[in-house]
Symmetry: C2
Subunit: 402 residues, 2 copies
Amino acid sequence: MLEISSISRSELKLAEWTRSIQRSSLQAMLAQASSPDILSFALGLPAPELFPREELAIAAGKVLARGGEVLQYSPSFQPLKMQIVDLMAQRGILCHEKQIFLTMGAQQGMSLLVRLLLDVNSQVILDELAYTGFRQVIEPFRPRILSARVDAETGIDVDAIERLLDSGTRPVFIYIISDGSNPTGLSLGIEKRVRLVELARRYRVPIIEDDVYGFLYYDKSLPPMRAHDDEWILYVGSFSKILAPGLRVGWVIVPEHLVSKLSIVKEASDIDTSNFSQRVISAYLDSGHLDSHLDNLRKQYKSRRDAMVYSLQKHFPKGAKWVTPTSGVFVWVELEDDIDTIAALKHAIEAEQIVFIPGHAFAIDENARARRCMRLNFSYTSLERIEDGISRLGNVVKAMSS
Amino acid sequence: MLEISSISRSELKLAEWTRSIQRSSLQAMLAQASSPDILSFALGLPAPELFPREELAIAAGKVLARGGEVLQYSPSFQPLKMQIVDLMAQRGILCHEKQIFLTMGAQQGMSLLVRLLLDVNSQVILDELAYTGFRQVIEPFRPRILSARVDAETGIDVDAIERLLDSGTRPVFIYIISDGSNPTGLSLGIEKRVRLVELARRYRVPIIEDDVYGFLYYDKSLPPMRAHDDEWILYVGSFSKILAPGLRVGWVIVPEHLVSKLSIVKEASDIDTSNFSQRVISAYLDSGHLDSHLDNLRKQYKSRRDAMVYSLQKHFPKGAKWVTPTSGVFVWVELEDDIDTIAALKHAIEAEQIVFIPGHAFAIDENARARRCMRLNFSYTSLERIEDGISRLGNVVKAMSS
C-alpha cells in the first residue's frame, strides 16, 4: 500500500431526510432481547420448521441441472407469472400475466409502487395503526400522513375516509391490508371492501392493497379488493408468508401500463429479482405441493391461534379484550386503562424473557388507546411455548394492574 | 364477484420524476434484437456455461439440510461477511466485517448509497462516459451531473476533477470504476488512484468506487482506491460477475457508522438480502472452489478478449482504435470520423443480426467522439462466435466508411 498524506477527517455529509433515521428506544430494547433464550411474540415470522425444505431442495437440484441460464441475469420468469395468475384465482382475482411484476418480496413491491407514485410533501391515507415497514417506505418523501380511525372490531373506518375525500382531500394513495391486518389482526367485511373500491374509483385515488396474509385464513375468507377493480387497486402479494421469506420473491398486480415503469425503477434498484429464487419457486409450484402445504400451514397456524386465544382467556386479566383473527399471524390485545404496554414489555423482558410489540409502535398519531395495546404473533412459536408464554405474560400484566 | 357501479376512469397520476422515464430508441432497437439468433456483444453478461452449477447445487443441498432458519428472514449472514473480508484481502483491501453490508448485487449497493447521500438538485461528478445503470440510480434526484473528461488511454481526467474541486465545486460524490471501466474498458494507473484518494480526502468528497470487474484481471492488477482509504472511498463489490448474477448478492464496504443507516434504507426497500442466496454462496466459498473458478474465468475471458482484439485488428478498418483492456468485459472501439455507430447498429442488426451498444448511449453530454464509438462485450460469447461476429461487424463498418 502507498503512503498517502494524512489529512484531518470529518464525517460524510448525508442526505437531509436521513436525519430522521434513528433507532427508537423500542428497537433498542427489542434488539437487546434477540437472544435464542427469548420467547418472542414480537415479529411476524413464519414457523421455520414448516418450510418445505426437502421439496425446495429437489426443486433447486432440478433447476440447476437445466443449464447456466438459470443463474444468469433475467427479467421476470414468464412461467412463474403464469403460476401466479393461477394462484390469484384461488383468491378470487382474475388477472393477466402482463399485469404482474415480480419483486424481491412484498416490501419491495410497496417500495417500488411508492417511488412511482409519491412526490415529496404529498398526502397519503393510512390506518391510525399501521405496519411500520410501510411507514419506513414513505418516510424519505416526508408525506403528510392522514390517519383513518380504526374500529376495534371491524377495522379501518370507511366513513372517515369518505369524509376526508368528500371534503376535497386528494391523497396520492390509501394503504390498506384487507386480511389479517398488521398490527390489528382484523379483516375487512365485504361492505367495507366494496365501499373502499367505490371510493377509490369515484375520487381516483389508488389503494395499495397489501395481501401478504391473504392465504393464511382460518375460518372464512373473502376476495381482496383487487377482485373488484383492476385499475385503482394496486395489489401486493408475496411468497414470504406462504413458502419462505429467505427466497425473497413477491409480486404486484397493477394496470399493464405501469409494469414497464416498475421495471425501470426496479432495474435502477437492483437490476432484477433473483432468477434462481424465481425458478426454484416455479419448479416447486410445478411439483404441485403448494396446495397441501397451504392446507397444512393453515391447520398449524389455526391451532396456534386457538392456543393463544385460549391462553389469553385463561391467563390475562378480565378486562383484556381482543378479536380472534380470521386471517394472518397477529392477535391485538387491548388491556385496561392503567397499563402502559411499553412498561409491560420492559417487565416482560426482565422477569420472563418474553418480547412482544407494544401498540404505541404502530400508532401514527398520539394514541392513548394504542398505549394499552400489544401485538402478539402466534405463527412463530410452538403450541406448548405459546401456552407457557401467554401464562407468564399474563402474570406480568396482572402484576402491573394490581 | 359483486357488482360495483361503473364510473368513468382516468389514468393514475404518477410522481413527477417519472415523466423523464421513457424508453430510448436505442433501448427499443436492442429489445427488438433480443432473439436467440442474435449474436450479442451488447450487454455485460457473464458466460453462463462457466457458472459452477454443480458446486452450487451441492452447496444448496447442504444449506437446505441444515434447518429451517436458512429460509427465514435474516440480516446479513455473519460467516459470509467474514469470507468477504478474506476475499477483499486478495484485492489488497484490509477491512473489518463491521464495515461490510450485504446487498442484492452491486446495483443495489449503489442505489442504497445514493439514497443515503443524495439530496434533490445536488451536484455529482461522473466520467463523461458512464455506466447507464448508475445514471438510472441518480435520475430520480435530478442532480446536476458534472462530467469529467475521459482520456482515451488512461481514463478519467484527474486534473479536470481537481480544477472543479479547486474552484469551489462540492459535489455530493464522485462515481468511478477503477478497473475495467464500463463502458471504456480502461483501468486507472496507480498515480490516478492515489491522486483521486487525496482529492477525496482534501475536499471531503466521497468517491463511490464500483469494483464489480476487479477480480477479472488478465495481465496486471492494482488494488482499488479503497485499499488506500477507509473513510472517503465507498466500495461496491458483487458476486454477479465472479460467481453468478442470478443469486443477486453483492456488498458495500463503508465506514462502520454508515452500516446501520444502510440497513434502515435496505429494510424499507426489501427487508433483507436473500438468506438462501447468502448461505448458498457462503457454503460454496467454504468448499474452497472459488480460487480455481476465478483462475479459470480469467483464463477463459482472457482468451475471448484476445480473440476479440485479434479479430478487430484483422477485420476492422485501419482507422479503428482501441486499448486492449487489462480487466473487465468490454472493448471500447473508436471508429473514423464519418461513422455514426447508431446507424452502424441499425445496419448490423438488419444485415448480420449482431448487436452492440453505440458509444452515444453512455455520453453524459453531447459528445461527438462518443458518436463514433462502440462498446463490445467479450465475456458472453464463445471464441468461435467472437471471431465470426467481429469479422461480419467489420464488414458492416467497412461498408459504411467506403
